[in-house]
Amino acid sequence: MILSNSPALVPLSLLLAAIVIPMAAFRRRWLAYPLALCASAFATGISVVNIIRVLTEGTIHYHFGGWIPPIGIEYVLDPLSSFVTLVVNAVSLMVLVHARRSVAAELPDKSMPFYAVVMLMLTGFNGIILTGDFFNLYVFLEISSLALYGMIAVGGRKSPIAAFRYLIMGTVGGSFYLLGVGFIYMTTGSLNMADVARIAPSLHQQPALVAALGLMITGLGIKMAIFPLHGWLPDAYTYAPSASSALIAPVGAKVGVYAIIRVIFYVFGVEFVRNSLPITEILAWLGAIAIIYGSIQAIAQKEMKRMLAYSSVAQIGYIGLGIGLANPYGIIGAVLHVMNHALMKACLFLVAGNYRLKLGHSTIPRLDHRVRRRMPWTTAAFTIGALSMVGVPPTVGFFSKWYLALGTIQNGRWLFLTALLVSSLLNAVYFFRILEKVYMKPLEGEAADDGSVSLDEAPASMLVPTLVLGIALLLLGLLNAVIVTGIISRIVPPGM
Protein backbone atom coordinates (compact mmCIF):
# COMPACT_ATOMS: atom_id res chain seq x y z
CA MET A 1 0.00 0.00 0.00
CA ILE A 2 2.72 2.39 0.98
CA LEU A 3 4.85 1.16 -1.85
CA SER A 4 2.19 1.55 -4.49
CA ASN A 5 1.53 5.10 -3.35
CA SER A 6 5.14 6.00 -2.78
CA PRO A 7 5.38 8.73 -5.45
CA ALA A 8 2.50 10.67 -3.95
CA LEU A 9 3.60 10.12 -0.39
CA VAL A 10 6.54 12.51 -0.63
CA PRO A 11 4.59 15.75 -1.11
CA LEU A 12 1.57 14.46 0.78
CA SER A 13 3.47 13.65 3.94
CA LEU A 14 4.97 17.11 3.88
CA LEU A 15 1.59 18.67 3.23
CA LEU A 16 0.13 16.72 6.13
CA ALA A 17 2.86 18.08 8.35
CA ALA A 18 2.12 21.59 7.12
CA ILE A 19 -1.49 21.14 8.25
CA VAL A 20 -0.87 19.24 11.45
CA ILE A 21 1.83 21.56 12.76
CA PRO A 22 -0.47 24.58 13.29
CA MET A 23 -3.11 22.35 14.88
CA ALA A 24 -0.82 20.38 17.13
CA ALA A 25 1.24 23.36 18.07
CA PHE A 26 -1.88 25.33 18.88
CA ARG A 27 -1.44 24.28 22.47
CA ARG A 28 2.02 22.73 22.50
CA ARG A 29 4.52 24.86 20.68
CA TRP A 30 7.42 22.51 21.05
CA LEU A 31 5.63 19.95 18.88
CA ALA A 32 6.22 21.97 15.72
CA TYR A 33 9.87 21.12 15.30
CA PRO A 34 9.71 17.34 15.87
CA LEU A 35 6.76 17.08 13.51
CA ALA A 36 8.58 18.99 10.80
CA LEU A 37 11.68 16.91 11.26
CA CYS A 38 9.72 13.65 11.17
CA ALA A 39 7.93 14.67 7.99
CA SER A 40 11.14 15.68 6.33
CA ALA A 41 12.88 12.46 7.39
CA PHE A 42 9.92 10.44 6.17
CA ALA A 43 9.94 12.26 2.84
CA THR A 44 13.65 11.63 2.50
CA GLY A 45 13.16 7.96 3.27
CA ILE A 46 10.40 7.68 0.70
CA SER A 47 12.58 9.49 -1.82
CA VAL A 48 15.24 6.85 -1.29
CA VAL A 49 12.62 4.14 -1.80
CA ASN A 50 11.47 5.95 -4.91
CA ILE A 51 14.87 6.18 -6.46
CA ILE A 52 15.48 2.50 -5.78
CA ARG A 53 12.16 1.66 -7.33
CA VAL A 54 12.90 3.75 -10.39
CA LEU A 55 16.29 2.19 -10.84
CA THR A 56 14.89 -1.32 -10.61
CA GLU A 57 11.44 -0.96 -12.15
CA GLY A 58 11.91 1.90 -14.57
CA THR A 59 9.70 4.94 -14.82
CA ILE A 60 6.67 4.90 -12.54
CA HIS A 61 3.43 6.73 -13.27
CA TYR A 62 1.08 7.51 -10.43
CA HIS A 63 -2.44 8.53 -11.36
CA PHE A 64 -4.25 10.68 -8.87
CA GLY A 65 -7.73 9.50 -8.05
CA GLY A 66 -7.22 6.66 -10.43
CA TRP A 67 -7.95 8.93 -13.40
CA ILE A 68 -5.89 8.08 -16.41
CA PRO A 69 -4.07 11.00 -18.04
CA PRO A 70 -4.58 13.17 -20.00
CA ILE A 71 -7.81 13.54 -18.00
CA GLY A 72 -6.30 12.95 -14.60
CA ILE A 73 -3.21 14.37 -12.99
CA GLU A 74 -0.27 12.03 -12.88
CA TYR A 75 2.99 11.99 -10.99
CA VAL A 76 5.94 10.77 -12.94
CA LEU A 77 8.88 9.17 -11.23
CA ASP A 78 11.73 8.90 -13.67
CA PRO A 79 15.46 9.00 -12.93
CA LEU A 80 15.54 12.78 -13.15
CA SER A 81 12.62 13.51 -10.86
CA SER A 82 13.52 10.83 -8.33
CA PHE A 83 17.10 12.09 -8.21
CA VAL A 84 16.15 15.72 -7.74
CA THR A 85 13.56 14.93 -5.06
CA LEU A 86 16.14 12.95 -3.18
CA VAL A 87 18.61 15.82 -3.34
CA VAL A 88 16.01 18.35 -2.29
CA ASN A 89 14.69 16.29 0.59
CA ALA A 90 18.02 15.10 1.89
CA VAL A 91 19.53 18.58 1.87
CA SER A 92 16.42 20.05 3.48
CA LEU A 93 16.52 17.39 6.16
CA MET A 94 20.09 18.36 6.99
CA VAL A 95 19.18 22.02 7.09
CA LEU A 96 16.15 21.30 9.25
CA VAL A 97 18.25 19.42 11.76
CA HIS A 98 20.42 22.49 11.87
CA ALA A 99 17.50 24.91 11.96
CA ARG A 100 16.24 24.21 15.47
CA ARG A 101 18.83 26.26 17.28
CA SER A 102 19.13 28.99 14.72
CA VAL A 103 15.35 29.40 14.54
CA ALA A 104 15.15 29.44 18.31
CA ALA A 105 17.78 32.16 18.35
CA GLU A 106 16.59 34.28 15.45
CA LEU A 107 12.81 33.74 15.44
CA PRO A 108 11.93 32.89 19.01
CA ASP A 109 8.20 33.54 18.81
CA LYS A 110 7.60 32.56 15.20
CA SER A 111 8.92 29.03 15.20
CA MET A 112 5.55 27.33 14.73
CA PRO A 113 4.48 29.22 11.61
CA PHE A 114 8.01 29.00 10.33
CA TYR A 115 8.06 25.22 10.35
CA ALA A 116 4.57 25.03 8.88
CA VAL A 117 5.63 27.29 6.05
CA VAL A 118 8.82 25.29 5.51
CA MET A 119 6.74 22.16 5.13
CA LEU A 120 4.54 23.97 2.65
CA MET A 121 7.55 25.08 0.68
CA LEU A 122 8.91 21.55 0.54
CA THR A 123 5.50 20.29 -0.53
CA GLY A 124 5.63 22.77 -3.36
CA PHE A 125 9.13 21.78 -4.39
CA ASN A 126 8.39 18.09 -4.40
CA GLY A 127 5.17 18.67 -6.23
CA ILE A 128 6.94 20.65 -8.95
CA ILE A 129 9.47 17.92 -9.37
CA LEU A 130 7.10 14.98 -9.40
CA THR A 131 4.14 16.25 -11.31
CA GLY A 132 3.58 15.35 -14.91
CA ASP A 133 1.00 18.04 -15.48
CA PHE A 134 1.67 21.59 -16.57
CA PHE A 135 -1.03 23.27 -14.57
CA ASN A 136 -0.33 21.25 -11.47
CA LEU A 137 3.24 22.43 -11.77
CA TYR A 138 2.02 26.02 -11.79
CA VAL A 139 0.01 25.46 -8.63
CA PHE A 140 2.95 23.92 -6.83
CA LEU A 141 5.22 26.65 -8.16
CA GLU A 142 2.99 29.24 -6.56
CA ILE A 143 2.59 27.26 -3.34
CA SER A 144 6.33 27.08 -2.93
CA SER A 145 6.76 30.72 -3.93
CA LEU A 146 4.19 31.89 -1.39
CA ALA A 147 5.94 29.88 1.27
CA LEU A 148 9.26 31.39 0.18
CA TYR A 149 7.92 34.93 0.45
CA GLY A 150 6.82 34.17 3.98
CA MET A 151 10.09 32.58 4.94
CA ILE A 152 12.04 35.54 3.69
CA ALA A 153 9.75 38.13 5.24
CA VAL A 154 10.11 36.82 8.80
CA GLY A 155 13.73 37.96 8.89
CA GLY A 156 15.01 41.25 10.17
CA ARG A 157 13.90 44.80 9.53
CA LYS A 158 14.70 44.84 5.85
CA SER A 159 13.41 41.41 4.94
CA PRO A 160 9.83 42.44 4.01
CA ILE A 161 11.17 44.70 1.28
CA ALA A 162 13.30 41.90 -0.09
CA ALA A 163 10.32 39.57 0.09
CA PHE A 164 8.10 42.09 -1.63
CA ARG A 165 10.50 42.54 -4.51
CA TYR A 166 10.77 38.79 -4.83
CA LEU A 167 7.00 38.56 -4.74
CA ILE A 168 6.59 40.97 -7.64
CA MET A 169 9.24 39.22 -9.70
CA GLY A 170 8.02 35.79 -8.75
CA THR A 171 4.45 36.60 -9.66
CA VAL A 172 5.53 37.90 -13.04
CA GLY A 173 7.47 34.70 -13.54
CA GLY A 174 4.57 32.53 -12.46
CA SER A 175 2.18 34.46 -14.67
CA PHE A 176 4.42 34.14 -17.70
CA TYR A 177 4.57 30.45 -17.10
CA LEU A 178 0.80 30.29 -16.76
CA LEU A 179 0.39 32.20 -20.01
CA GLY A 180 2.70 29.72 -21.70
CA VAL A 181 0.62 26.86 -20.35
CA GLY A 182 -2.44 28.58 -21.78
CA PHE A 183 -0.86 28.63 -25.22
CA ILE A 184 0.06 24.99 -24.91
CA TYR A 185 -3.43 24.04 -23.88
CA MET A 186 -4.94 25.95 -26.76
CA THR A 187 -2.70 24.38 -29.37
CA THR A 188 -2.51 20.82 -28.10
CA GLY A 189 -5.63 20.53 -25.99
CA SER A 190 -3.72 18.77 -23.27
CA LEU A 191 -1.97 19.67 -20.06
CA ASN A 192 -0.22 16.39 -19.53
CA MET A 193 3.49 16.68 -20.24
CA ALA A 194 3.87 13.29 -21.86
CA ASP A 195 0.81 13.93 -23.94
CA VAL A 196 2.10 17.30 -25.09
CA ALA A 197 5.47 15.77 -25.86
CA ARG A 198 3.68 13.28 -28.10
CA ILE A 199 1.59 15.90 -29.87
CA ALA A 200 4.08 18.74 -30.18
CA PRO A 201 6.26 17.37 -33.01
CA SER A 202 3.24 16.90 -35.23
CA LEU A 203 2.36 20.57 -34.91
CA HIS A 204 5.41 21.66 -36.89
CA GLN A 205 6.58 24.75 -35.11
CA GLN A 206 3.23 26.39 -34.74
CA PRO A 207 3.85 29.98 -33.63
CA ALA A 208 1.60 29.60 -30.59
CA LEU A 209 3.62 26.63 -29.41
CA VAL A 210 6.87 28.50 -29.92
CA ALA A 211 5.43 31.42 -27.97
CA ALA A 212 4.46 29.01 -25.23
CA LEU A 213 8.01 27.72 -25.07
CA GLY A 214 9.43 31.21 -24.86
CA LEU A 215 7.00 32.35 -22.20
CA MET A 216 7.47 29.28 -20.05
CA ILE A 217 11.24 29.47 -20.16
CA THR A 218 11.15 33.18 -19.32
CA GLY A 219 8.82 32.57 -16.42
CA LEU A 220 10.82 29.67 -15.07
CA GLY A 221 13.99 31.63 -15.68
CA ILE A 222 12.80 34.24 -13.20
CA LYS A 223 12.14 31.56 -10.62
CA MET A 224 15.51 30.03 -11.35
CA ALA A 225 17.20 33.47 -11.19
CA ILE A 226 19.21 33.17 -14.37
CA PHE A 227 21.36 36.20 -14.96
CA PRO A 228 19.35 39.24 -16.00
CA LEU A 229 16.37 37.94 -14.03
CA HIS A 230 18.27 37.45 -10.80
CA GLY A 231 17.58 40.88 -9.29
CA TRP A 232 15.48 39.57 -6.43
CA LEU A 233 17.96 36.97 -5.29
CA PRO A 234 20.77 38.75 -3.40
CA ASP A 235 18.51 40.78 -1.13
CA ALA A 236 16.21 37.86 -0.51
CA TYR A 237 19.02 35.54 0.53
CA THR A 238 20.78 38.17 2.59
CA TYR A 239 17.93 39.49 4.67
CA ALA A 240 16.15 36.20 5.25
CA PRO A 241 16.83 34.49 8.58
CA SER A 242 19.74 32.05 8.49
CA ALA A 243 17.51 29.01 8.52
CA SER A 244 15.46 30.34 5.62
CA SER A 245 18.38 31.24 3.43
CA ALA A 246 19.98 27.88 4.18
CA LEU A 247 16.81 26.22 2.95
CA ILE A 248 16.07 28.48 0.02
CA ALA A 249 19.50 28.92 -1.50
CA PRO A 250 20.40 25.25 -1.98
CA VAL A 251 17.07 24.01 -3.25
CA GLY A 252 14.99 27.07 -4.11
CA ALA A 253 16.39 27.91 -7.49
CA LYS A 254 16.94 24.25 -8.32
CA VAL A 255 13.30 23.50 -8.93
CA GLY A 256 13.24 26.23 -11.55
CA VAL A 257 16.21 24.56 -13.15
CA TYR A 258 14.47 21.24 -12.96
CA ALA A 259 11.34 22.59 -14.61
CA ILE A 260 13.39 24.12 -17.41
CA ILE A 261 15.19 20.84 -18.04
CA ARG A 262 11.85 19.07 -18.05
CA VAL A 263 10.27 21.53 -20.47
CA ILE A 264 13.16 21.80 -22.87
CA PHE A 265 14.38 18.23 -23.03
CA TYR A 266 11.40 16.11 -22.12
CA VAL A 267 8.39 18.00 -23.43
CA PHE A 268 9.50 19.93 -26.47
CA GLY A 269 12.67 18.03 -27.18
CA VAL A 270 15.98 19.45 -28.30
CA GLU A 271 15.07 19.24 -31.97
CA PHE A 272 11.97 21.35 -31.56
CA VAL A 273 13.72 23.88 -29.34
CA ARG A 274 16.68 24.25 -31.67
CA ASN A 275 14.49 24.76 -34.70
CA SER A 276 12.11 27.22 -33.12
CA LEU A 277 13.91 29.67 -30.89
CA PRO A 278 17.60 29.98 -30.02
CA ILE A 279 16.67 29.30 -26.40
CA THR A 280 19.49 26.92 -25.65
CA GLU A 281 21.94 29.34 -27.18
CA ILE A 282 20.55 32.21 -25.14
CA LEU A 283 20.59 30.13 -21.97
CA ALA A 284 24.20 29.20 -22.56
CA TRP A 285 25.23 32.80 -23.11
CA LEU A 286 23.27 34.05 -20.14
CA GLY A 287 24.80 31.26 -18.10
CA ALA A 288 28.30 32.26 -19.13
CA ILE A 289 27.63 35.92 -18.36
CA ALA A 290 26.05 34.99 -15.04
CA ILE A 291 29.10 32.95 -14.11
CA ILE A 292 31.42 35.89 -14.57
CA TYR A 293 29.07 38.56 -13.30
CA GLY A 294 28.05 36.65 -10.18
CA SER A 295 31.62 35.83 -9.28
CA ILE A 296 32.78 39.40 -9.68
CA GLN A 297 29.88 40.70 -7.63
CA ALA A 298 30.61 38.13 -4.96
CA ILE A 299 34.14 39.42 -4.63
CA ALA A 300 32.83 42.89 -3.87
CA GLN A 301 30.55 41.81 -1.02
CA LYS A 302 31.25 42.30 2.65
CA GLU A 303 28.44 40.21 4.06
CA MET A 304 29.01 36.49 3.87
CA LYS A 305 25.40 35.68 3.06
CA ARG A 306 25.29 38.28 0.32
CA MET A 307 28.52 36.95 -1.07
CA LEU A 308 27.05 33.46 -1.11
CA ALA A 309 23.95 34.83 -2.77
CA TYR A 310 25.95 36.33 -5.62
CA SER A 311 27.91 33.16 -5.89
CA SER A 312 24.55 31.41 -6.27
CA VAL A 313 23.89 33.62 -9.27
CA ALA A 314 27.14 32.37 -10.72
CA GLN A 315 26.44 28.76 -9.85
CA ILE A 316 23.04 28.92 -11.46
CA GLY A 317 24.89 30.24 -14.46
CA TYR A 318 26.87 26.98 -14.56
CA ILE A 319 23.64 25.05 -14.65
CA GLY A 320 22.17 27.33 -17.28
CA LEU A 321 25.30 26.86 -19.35
CA GLY A 322 25.06 23.10 -19.01
CA ILE A 323 21.44 23.13 -20.13
CA GLY A 324 22.20 25.53 -22.93
CA LEU A 325 24.94 23.31 -24.32
CA ALA A 326 22.22 20.72 -24.87
CA ASN A 327 24.60 17.81 -25.23
CA PRO A 328 24.94 14.78 -22.95
CA TYR A 329 27.94 16.08 -21.06
CA GLY A 330 26.24 19.40 -20.59
CA ILE A 331 23.19 17.73 -19.09
CA ILE A 332 25.27 15.48 -16.88
CA GLY A 333 27.23 18.50 -15.71
CA ALA A 334 24.09 20.52 -15.10
CA VAL A 335 22.30 17.80 -13.15
CA LEU A 336 25.39 16.92 -11.16
CA HIS A 337 25.84 20.58 -10.42
CA VAL A 338 22.28 20.76 -9.17
CA MET A 339 23.23 18.23 -6.53
CA ASN A 340 26.64 19.70 -5.99
CA HIS A 341 25.43 23.23 -5.58
CA ALA A 342 22.67 22.13 -3.24
CA LEU A 343 25.23 20.47 -0.99
CA MET A 344 27.82 23.23 -1.16
CA LYS A 345 25.44 26.07 -0.64
CA ALA A 346 23.69 24.29 2.19
CA CYS A 347 27.03 23.64 3.82
CA LEU A 348 28.20 27.22 3.42
CA PHE A 349 24.93 28.76 4.57
CA LEU A 350 24.94 26.50 7.60
CA VAL A 351 28.42 27.76 8.36
CA ALA A 352 27.14 31.31 8.07
CA GLY A 353 24.33 30.33 10.43
CA ASN A 354 26.78 28.90 12.94
CA TYR A 355 28.83 32.07 12.80
CA ARG A 356 25.72 34.16 13.31
CA LEU A 357 24.74 32.14 16.32
CA LYS A 358 28.12 32.21 18.02
CA LEU A 359 29.64 35.44 16.79
CA GLY A 360 26.45 37.38 16.23
CA HIS A 361 27.41 38.34 12.70
CA SER A 362 28.74 36.95 9.46
CA THR A 363 30.47 40.03 8.13
CA ILE A 364 33.65 39.15 6.34
CA PRO A 365 35.87 42.05 7.44
CA ARG A 366 35.12 41.22 11.06
CA LEU A 367 36.20 37.60 10.84
CA ASP A 368 39.65 36.79 12.12
CA HIS A 369 41.73 33.91 13.40
CA ARG A 370 39.81 33.81 16.67
CA VAL A 371 36.89 32.44 14.69
CA ARG A 372 38.88 29.38 13.85
CA ARG A 373 40.04 29.00 17.42
CA ARG A 374 36.50 29.19 18.66
CA MET A 375 34.90 27.09 15.96
CA PRO A 376 37.48 24.83 14.33
CA TRP A 377 35.03 22.28 12.95
CA THR A 378 32.67 24.80 11.45
CA THR A 379 35.62 26.46 9.82
CA ALA A 380 36.83 23.14 8.52
CA ALA A 381 33.44 22.53 6.91
CA PHE A 382 33.65 26.00 5.41
CA THR A 383 37.04 25.13 3.95
CA ILE A 384 35.70 22.02 2.26
CA GLY A 385 32.73 23.92 0.91
CA ALA A 386 35.02 26.65 -0.37
CA LEU A 387 37.34 24.18 -2.04
CA SER A 388 34.39 22.57 -3.72
CA MET A 389 33.23 25.95 -4.96
CA VAL A 390 36.67 26.61 -6.37
CA GLY A 391 36.58 23.19 -7.96
CA VAL A 392 39.53 21.50 -6.36
CA PRO A 393 39.52 17.72 -6.75
CA PRO A 394 38.37 15.41 -5.24
CA THR A 395 35.33 17.49 -4.25
CA VAL A 396 32.14 17.31 -6.30
CA GLY A 397 32.75 20.84 -7.49
CA PHE A 398 35.65 19.67 -9.58
CA PHE A 399 33.68 16.96 -11.29
CA SER A 400 30.63 18.94 -12.25
CA LYS A 401 33.02 21.46 -13.72
CA TRP A 402 34.81 18.66 -15.50
CA TYR A 403 31.64 17.45 -17.20
CA LEU A 404 30.63 20.97 -18.09
CA ALA A 405 34.08 21.53 -19.58
CA LEU A 406 33.71 18.37 -21.63
CA GLY A 407 30.35 19.66 -22.76
CA THR A 408 31.75 22.99 -23.93
CA ILE A 409 34.53 21.22 -25.77
CA GLN A 410 32.12 18.83 -27.41
CA ASN A 411 30.30 21.81 -28.88
CA GLY A 412 33.57 23.57 -29.61
CA ARG A 413 32.61 26.57 -27.48
CA TRP A 414 35.95 27.82 -26.26
CA LEU A 415 34.58 31.05 -24.91
CA PHE A 416 32.31 29.17 -22.54
CA LEU A 417 35.17 26.97 -21.47
CA THR A 418 37.15 30.09 -20.65
CA ALA A 419 34.28 31.54 -18.64
CA LEU A 420 33.98 28.28 -16.75
CA LEU A 421 37.64 28.20 -15.87
CA VAL A 422 38.05 31.88 -15.12
CA SER A 423 35.18 31.69 -12.69
CA SER A 424 37.07 29.08 -10.69
CA LEU A 425 39.77 31.64 -10.17
CA LEU A 426 37.27 34.28 -9.17
CA ASN A 427 35.74 31.83 -6.72
CA ALA A 428 39.20 31.25 -5.34
CA VAL A 429 39.60 34.98 -4.84
CA TYR A 430 36.53 35.41 -2.71
CA PHE A 431 36.86 32.24 -0.74
CA PHE A 432 40.55 32.43 0.01
CA ARG A 433 39.96 35.99 1.14
CA ILE A 434 37.93 34.51 4.00
CA LEU A 435 40.16 31.52 4.54
CA GLU A 436 43.13 33.80 4.88
CA LYS A 437 41.31 35.77 7.54
CA VAL A 438 40.21 32.84 9.62
CA TYR A 439 43.39 30.85 9.42
CA MET A 440 45.87 33.60 10.00
CA LYS A 441 46.91 35.75 12.86
CA PRO A 442 46.02 39.40 12.75
CA LEU A 443 48.69 41.62 11.35
CA GLU A 444 50.99 43.35 13.75
CA GLY A 445 49.46 46.04 15.87
CA GLU A 446 46.64 43.93 17.20
CA ALA A 447 47.20 42.02 20.34
CA ALA A 448 47.70 38.33 19.86
CA ASP A 449 45.14 37.15 22.36
CA ASP A 450 45.27 33.50 21.44
CA GLY A 451 45.10 32.40 25.00
CA SER A 452 41.88 34.21 25.79
CA VAL A 453 39.92 32.54 23.00
CA SER A 454 38.64 29.17 24.04
CA LEU A 455 36.79 26.54 22.13
CA ASP A 456 33.21 27.61 21.69
CA GLU A 457 31.83 25.47 18.89
CA ALA A 458 28.27 25.55 17.65
CA PRO A 459 25.98 22.99 19.32
CA ALA A 460 26.00 19.46 17.97
CA SER A 461 22.62 19.81 16.30
CA MET A 462 24.12 22.53 14.13
CA LEU A 463 27.59 21.17 13.77
CA VAL A 464 26.71 17.65 12.70
CA PRO A 465 24.66 18.62 9.62
CA THR A 466 27.32 21.09 8.60
CA LEU A 467 29.99 18.45 8.80
CA VAL A 468 27.83 15.79 7.18
CA LEU A 469 27.34 18.08 4.19
CA GLY A 470 31.05 18.84 4.08
CA ILE A 471 31.98 15.18 4.13
CA ALA A 472 29.29 14.43 1.58
CA LEU A 473 30.99 16.89 -0.75
CA LEU A 474 34.19 14.89 -0.55
CA LEU A 475 32.63 11.45 -0.67
CA LEU A 476 30.20 12.18 -3.45
CA GLY A 477 33.07 13.71 -5.37
CA LEU A 478 35.00 10.48 -5.21
CA LEU A 479 31.89 8.44 -5.93
CA ASN A 480 30.48 10.75 -8.59
CA ALA A 481 31.01 8.14 -11.29
CA VAL A 482 28.53 5.88 -9.51
CA ILE A 483 25.92 8.60 -9.55
CA VAL A 484 26.70 9.63 -13.08
CA THR A 485 26.60 6.17 -14.61
CA GLY A 486 23.84 4.87 -12.36
CA ILE A 487 21.42 7.75 -12.43
CA ILE A 488 22.40 10.83 -14.35
CA SER A 489 23.35 9.10 -17.59
CA ARG A 490 19.85 7.71 -17.68
CA ILE A 491 18.55 11.24 -17.44
CA VAL A 492 20.12 12.25 -20.71
CA PRO A 493 17.10 12.28 -22.98
CA PRO A 494 17.08 9.74 -25.77
CA GLY A 495 18.15 10.88 -29.19
CA MET A 496 20.93 13.09 -27.93
Binding site: F135, Y138, V139, E142, L146, Y149, G150, A153, R157, K158, P160, I161, A163, F164, L167, I168, T171, V172, G174, S175, L178, L179, G182, Y185, M186, D235, E303, T363
Partner: protein, 128 residues
Protein backbone atom coordinates in the same frame (compact mmCIF):
# COMPACT_ATOMS: atom_id res chain seq x y z
CA UNK B 1 -5.12 39.99 -41.86
CA UNK B 2 -8.11 42.06 -40.89
CA UNK B 3 -9.93 38.91 -39.98
CA UNK B 4 -7.07 37.79 -37.88
CA UNK B 5 -7.11 41.05 -35.92
CA UNK B 6 -10.85 41.23 -35.50
CA UNK B 7 -11.27 37.52 -34.97
CA UNK B 8 -8.92 37.61 -32.01
CA UNK B 9 -10.24 40.80 -30.52
CA UNK B 10 -10.55 39.29 -27.04
CA UNK B 11 -6.86 38.49 -27.06
CA UNK B 12 -5.87 42.00 -28.02
CA UNK B 13 -7.68 43.31 -25.00
CA UNK B 14 -5.99 40.70 -22.91
CA UNK B 15 -2.62 41.83 -24.15
CA UNK B 16 -3.45 45.47 -23.58
CA UNK B 17 -4.43 44.64 -20.01
CA UNK B 18 -1.25 42.66 -19.60
CA UNK B 19 0.83 45.57 -20.80
CA UNK B 20 -0.95 47.89 -18.39
CA UNK B 21 -0.31 45.46 -15.58
CA UNK B 22 3.36 45.08 -16.41
CA UNK B 23 3.70 48.84 -16.73
CA UNK B 24 2.25 49.26 -13.26
CA UNK B 25 4.52 46.66 -11.76
CA UNK B 26 7.70 47.93 -13.33
CA UNK B 27 7.34 51.68 -13.64
CA UNK B 28 5.31 52.68 -10.60
CA UNK B 29 7.29 53.36 -7.48
CA UNK B 30 4.48 53.04 -4.98
CA UNK B 31 4.28 49.50 -3.71
CA UNK B 32 0.47 49.48 -3.61
CA UNK B 33 0.36 50.64 -7.22
CA UNK B 34 2.69 47.83 -8.06
CA UNK B 35 0.22 45.46 -6.48
CA UNK B 36 -2.59 46.95 -8.50
CA UNK B 37 -0.51 46.34 -11.60
CA UNK B 38 0.12 42.79 -10.49
CA UNK B 39 -3.56 42.21 -10.00
CA UNK B 40 -4.36 43.55 -13.47
CA UNK B 41 -1.68 41.34 -14.90
CA UNK B 42 -3.09 38.24 -13.24
CA UNK B 43 -6.60 39.07 -14.29
CA UNK B 44 -5.49 39.51 -17.87
CA UNK B 45 -4.17 35.95 -17.89
CA UNK B 46 -7.38 34.69 -16.37
CA UNK B 47 -9.27 36.45 -19.12
CA UNK B 48 -6.96 34.93 -21.65
CA UNK B 49 -7.89 31.43 -20.52
CA UNK B 50 -11.55 32.24 -20.32
CA UNK B 51 -11.52 33.77 -23.78
CA UNK B 52 -9.75 30.72 -25.09
CA UNK B 53 -12.43 28.46 -23.67
CA UNK B 54 -15.23 30.32 -25.41
CA UNK B 55 -17.16 28.78 -28.28
CA UNK B 56 -19.68 30.64 -30.41
CA UNK B 57 -23.20 29.53 -29.72
CA UNK B 58 -22.30 27.29 -26.82
CA UNK B 59 -23.70 27.48 -23.33
CA UNK B 60 -22.52 26.96 -19.77
CA UNK B 61 -21.06 23.55 -19.15
CA UNK B 62 -23.88 22.15 -17.05
CA UNK B 63 -25.63 19.14 -18.47
CA UNK B 64 -28.84 20.43 -19.98
CA UNK B 65 -31.41 17.76 -20.84
CA UNK B 66 -32.62 19.88 -23.73
CA UNK B 67 -29.20 19.88 -25.40
CA UNK B 68 -28.02 16.40 -24.49
CA UNK B 69 -24.41 15.46 -23.91
CA UNK B 70 -23.60 14.03 -27.30
CA UNK B 71 -22.18 17.14 -28.94
CA UNK B 72 -19.42 18.84 -26.95
CA UNK B 73 -19.60 21.84 -29.28
CA UNK B 74 -22.79 22.89 -27.54
CA UNK B 75 -21.00 23.49 -24.28
CA UNK B 76 -18.18 25.84 -23.42
CA UNK B 77 -15.00 24.06 -22.45
CA UNK B 78 -15.16 23.94 -18.63
CA UNK B 79 -11.55 23.01 -17.98
CA UNK B 80 -10.00 26.48 -18.39
CA UNK B 81 -12.62 27.85 -16.04
CA UNK B 82 -11.75 25.39 -13.34
CA UNK B 83 -8.09 26.05 -13.89
CA UNK B 84 -8.71 29.74 -13.50
CA UNK B 85 -10.58 29.12 -10.32
CA UNK B 86 -7.35 27.76 -8.94
CA UNK B 87 -5.42 30.63 -10.46
CA UNK B 88 -7.77 33.09 -8.76
CA UNK B 89 -7.18 31.40 -5.44
CA UNK B 90 -3.46 31.61 -6.02
CA UNK B 91 -3.88 35.26 -6.90
CA UNK B 92 -5.84 35.95 -3.74
CA UNK B 93 -3.24 34.22 -1.62
CA UNK B 94 -0.46 36.16 -3.30
CA UNK B 95 -2.34 39.38 -2.80
CA UNK B 96 -2.89 38.56 0.86
CA UNK B 97 0.81 37.94 1.42
CA UNK B 98 1.70 41.05 -0.56
CA UNK B 99 -0.65 43.28 1.42
CA UNK B 100 0.68 41.89 4.68
CA UNK B 101 4.18 42.72 3.49
CA UNK B 102 3.15 46.21 2.46
CA UNK B 103 1.66 46.85 5.87
CA UNK B 104 4.81 45.63 7.61
CA UNK B 105 6.99 47.72 5.35
CA UNK B 106 4.91 50.80 5.99
CA UNK B 107 5.03 50.28 9.73
CA UNK B 108 8.80 49.96 9.70
CA UNK B 109 9.74 52.62 7.19
CA UNK B 110 6.73 54.96 7.10
CA UNK B 111 6.99 54.99 3.34
CA UNK B 112 5.84 52.99 0.37
CA UNK B 113 8.07 54.57 -2.23
CA UNK B 114 10.37 51.94 -3.63
CA UNK B 115 13.30 54.16 -4.49
CA UNK B 116 13.28 55.70 -1.03
CA UNK B 117 12.97 52.31 0.59
CA UNK B 118 15.95 50.98 -1.34
CA UNK B 119 18.00 54.04 -0.45
CA UNK B 120 17.10 53.56 3.17
CA UNK B 121 18.07 49.89 3.01
CA UNK B 122 21.48 50.61 1.52
CA UNK B 123 22.06 53.25 4.14
CA UNK B 124 21.28 50.82 6.89
CA UNK B 125 23.54 48.25 5.27
CA UNK B 126 26.42 50.65 5.36
CA UNK B 127 25.94 51.64 8.95
CA UNK B 128 25.84 48.04 10.08
Amino acid sequence: MFDFIVGHYAYWFVFILMAIGLYGMIIKCNLVKKLIGMSIFQVSIILFYVAGANKWGATVPVADPALGTADPAKYINPLPHTLMLTAIVVGVATMGVALALVITIYKRYKSLDETRLLEQMRKEDDTE
